[in-house]
Amino acid sequence: MTEMIGAFFSGLYQIFTWSTLSLMFLGIIIGFAVGILPGLGGPTTLAIMLPFIVKMKAVEAFAFLLGMAAVTNTTGDITSILFGVPGEPTTAATIIDGHPMAKKGEAGRALGAALLSSLVGAIFGAFFLAAAIPVVRPLVLTFGSPEFFMLALLGITFVASLSGSDFLKGLISGGIGLFLATVGLCPMTSVQRFTFGQIFLWDGIGLVPITIGFFAIPEIVDLSVKGSSIAGDKIGKLGGVMQGVKDTFHHWWLVIRCSAIGTVTAIIPGMGGATTQWLAYAHAVQSSTDKERFGKGAVEGVLGPGASNNSTLGGSLVTTIAFGVPASVTMAILMGAFLIQGLVPGPDMLIPEPKGHLALTFSFVWINVVSNIITVGICFLVLNHLVKITQIRGSLLIPFIILLVYLGAFAEKNTFQDLILVLIFGILGWVMLRFKWPRPPLILGLVLGPLAENRLFLSTGNYGLAWIFRPGVLILIALTAIGIILPILRVMRQYREKKNRPTTQEPLAHDVPKTLRWKASTLFTLFLIAMIIWALWQSRRFDFRSGLFPWAIGFPVLVLFLVQLLRDLTLKEPEKSDEDKKELSDDETKRRTRAIFFWIFGYFTAIWLFGFSVGVPLSTFLHLKIGAREKWSLSLILTACAWGLIYGIFDRILHVPFPEGQLFLWL
């Protein structure tokens, strides 16, 4: 025990040398930029930096790399809040309430809350890592595939909390996510499922393009239709950065719980920040007494994911260090760093020196803590300037946000087809938002689906059906059952309450004339029904193992859809709420919507025809000069900036392999 405590402080002592601290600082600065730019993922940057660590000492190397990895989630939150574009795939959940806050003029408050909760999360994760070290191996080894499967199932029940006010639509949305997760090669049989013969779909639909399209495109449309800055004229009316800090302390207990969700879940291989953020968000919604506020700028919706996506690192490190099983791509690269340093992740890392490397392991804890403190400190210094972005004219921002969207979607896998996915899911996201379908359940289904399917077949392959009777599984079944029954009871109670006092909640529906919108939403439901029937028809040739999951999800979703269709056809549309009332006339809204979609598609077409380095400046310029009628000088300067970013940084320095324009290939 004394040895452990000794190692704990030795770990702290080790990082306070000049070389280590300065390397950590360098890592933080790189991670800062990487986190803010959606096109640059943490993993890619880590990989590029790997060669530099060959000559470093172990503690220096990890100060550099972990410092870099630790801050990307924090700064990713900034992009999510300000632009509604996920800065990192792990910061998408921050958009749901963070960006509406920015639109209400509360960007400062949202950022303050995100940053401080990130710091709390990071520190929590770090000390969890420290506390878990003595027990981690036996603990994790009691978990086999059956328990992993049940945990994935338990996670899926969080869909209920993510559904917002419409439980049925939430379930369907989650079901669509699970169904989309089956696209690609079946992991057990390598049979192609719903790939349309496209090889790029073999690995499934990428989370990054979906998340970006899904959340960013509707925001771009909204910003453009509004025709003002992100915050409109509301800036400064409500609290600033310090208000966000206060919020963190006000909701202290929630922040701690969400940190715990992030850390504990991340121990499971295959569950990284992309999953934990949604679980934390769902928990924030679930534990709130006023669920109606969520999605419209509730600060708890920022605090939850903000804390969890940072605390995740601590949990992921546990599995990486104790078993050499990387929980995420970032961790896989860190494992490479271990090997370069001549360290083998595993039991040795948990034994005090000189036999093992416990002090080094503890230094990871401290690096995580210290680098987050530094990052948050820097952020607070520049925060007030960052907030001003929300005051910039939307027309000047839009070309850059579109650029970030396409660049972010492309650069994750360097696949051009991902841009098409962005467009498809951008439209889907926009339509879902219009017709009030909750989007987060779809993402949760998408990230948990593969884990559930894989582990179900691995459980059956290893244990037959006997896995159901493992004690861990029985406990998790009980928890899952509670997770399913409670929301149903809640919905039933709400229904009964509504029945008892019908006039307050349901507006006088029969007074509202049937509008075009009502028909459109039904058409959308019909369209999705047609898609699901088509997909099930396609799956008729699957064998049992490839087909089980698509069928087990597809048929219930179809039934739910039919119920929804019935609702669409019988229920009258409720009166428009306050925030739906726009200052613009319907015609003007439609015209602007058409215009922005034209530009979004035009941008894509330009990239496709001319490649990134010509297409991006071209469409940026056209949008600024013709679309937004900006001055020549301003248009040219901003176009030069866009070109510099694409050509200078991404093409020349980072060597992102942009595809050549189709037009040049034809010529």
Binding site: A47, G144, S190
Partner: protein, 342 residues
Amino acid sequence: MNNKRICTIAVVIGLVLISAITANAASYFEGKTIRIIVGYSAGGGYDTYARVISRHMGRHIPGNPSIIVENMTGAGSLISANHLYRVAKPDGLTIGHFNGGLFFSQVMDQPGIEFEARKFEYIGAATTEDVAYAFTKASGITSMEKWMASKTPVKMGGTAPGAYAPDNVIRIAKAALGLPIQLVTGYKGTADIRLAAEGGELAGSSWGWDSMRATWRKSLESGDVVAVLQGVPKPLRDLANVPLAVNYAKTDEARKLIEAGIHSPSVFARPFVLPPGTPNDLLQVLRKALQETLTDKEFLAETEKAKLDLNPVTGDELGQAVAEIFKLDSALRAQMKEILFK
């Protein structure tokens, strides 16, 4: 006398030609950038090798071109392999580094292959993927005798049907040697398999010995994990006493299955290739440069530090190993398909 003169002339002409080619190559590569397109994401095994090589190989190419690595991920590197065959220009400036198991997939008529493996130009490989079959001590399978005597099928973890290791090498061992095996496939990678084996869910598995030795070092040293069989024609240096799979083959057919399904794919597992139709002089320059790089002092110091194992394969050897698998007769080919994909 005459003979001597002819010889001299021949040598002179030869020298002139060689110098012409190298001079050409020097001016050709000078100021240019060679791209190594890696079929997997940054930070993985393929990427790591490519990046180390990219830092040293330029020095061994006349004209000192700079070399950069690009990642084109997807479909187990099939996207990059197809790209190299169909899109990349055969100008010696684009090198592909993807999973050589795809050549085998072509022989097995797997979907999505848009290349003809024998038409690629082979530069060589830095290492092979020699597999070992290992089990935990807790599973009781600590020797071939115990494995063969096992009454119940031994659970081994796989990642996906068609993957060279673990899935193919396990299925072939099961079919060709009649070993009691139950393959449980669908794990996300060998790290997950290791965890499942340590937790007692699996008995063991089989994949590249280099990677197994690096990541499972502690357990192998303590005897908690034991390598009981190896899938190579000659014993590996540090597995001198572990029996060879091929020695357990009772029939000629079984031996052929092991050679074509386990031995050859190991040689071309991690190839560096050029698009078909790349001029021979450029190919030769790059072949020579790769082999020189693999013995370069600075390069070796870096791979030593990064614990990257090397087992150089020349371009010729690589091409031969690929040609070898296409020699499987149709009956054996059908049998192999049955084994690997049924």
